[in-house]
């Protein structure tokens, strides 16, 4: 992260900070979808994907099982 980013991350306006967190979550969800789909196509197991994401196998399967099963 560059200096501007660090300054921005320290914004003293809670509204701005929270808005940034929401946008990051939404972006992270999209990136997660992208990579889980690719990992499945490359033959990763649900357990491997779950470990990489730091969640349980059940959680990742419940979320993506029907789509990328």
């Amino acid at each position: 992260m560059n200096e501007t980013a660090l300054t921005a991350a320290g914004t003293d306006d809670p509204g701005e900070g929270l808005r940034a967190v929401l946008a990051l979550r939404t972006l992270a969800d999209g990136l997660e979808t992208l990579h889980v789909e690719r990992a499945r196509r490359l033959g990763w197991s649900w357990q491997e994907i779950a470990s990489a994401l730091g969640v349980t196998k059940q959680a990742v399967h419940q979320r993506y099982g029907k789509r990328f099963g």
């Binding site: 992260m1 940034a20 969800d29 999209g30």
Partner: protein, 190 residues
Amino acid sequence: MFDRFTTDARRAVTLAQGAAVTLDADAIEPEHLLLALAHDETSVAGRALASLGVDRATLEERVRAGGRPDTPDPQALALVGVDLEDVRARADATFGAGALDRALAEAARGRRRRGRLPLSPAARSAIAGAVEEAMRHRHRRIDPGHLLLALAEGDERRTAAPSRLLTTLGAPPRAVRQAVAAAWASADAA
């Protein structure tokens, strides 16, 4: 809990479930019940709201403002030093043109696909309020009119949001009571 509910009152709860899922809520809130009531234009509540000039689109917009957007806000990301265009370019370079936007849309659909949502404590309280309204009117069945009365009346702690929203849109509790009474009367006459 719903055994004395009329068919259209049950439908309102089902529609509220759909609204809650669409708006990415964790539970069915009283606001979602209000949206559902406004959506069913032929019900007592739908007709009462229409007669009060409560615009469905405006109502949806106000409730939706609390929901989660499908795409990240680029300006908000810039606040923490993330350049959405840069992320998009990198993702598309690896996964093909339009990959990030497709993934964001897919993730949004995934959020909506979650299972049934529970009624929040506030929504339960609103439903209990509707049962009380029916008892007060000596009505045997609970219809959308009773639900609307309970939402309009509010309860200071729990269901204040729909009551405030209705008042802002020109439908304070007293006006809602009159409109619901009129809608019931015209239903009886028909």
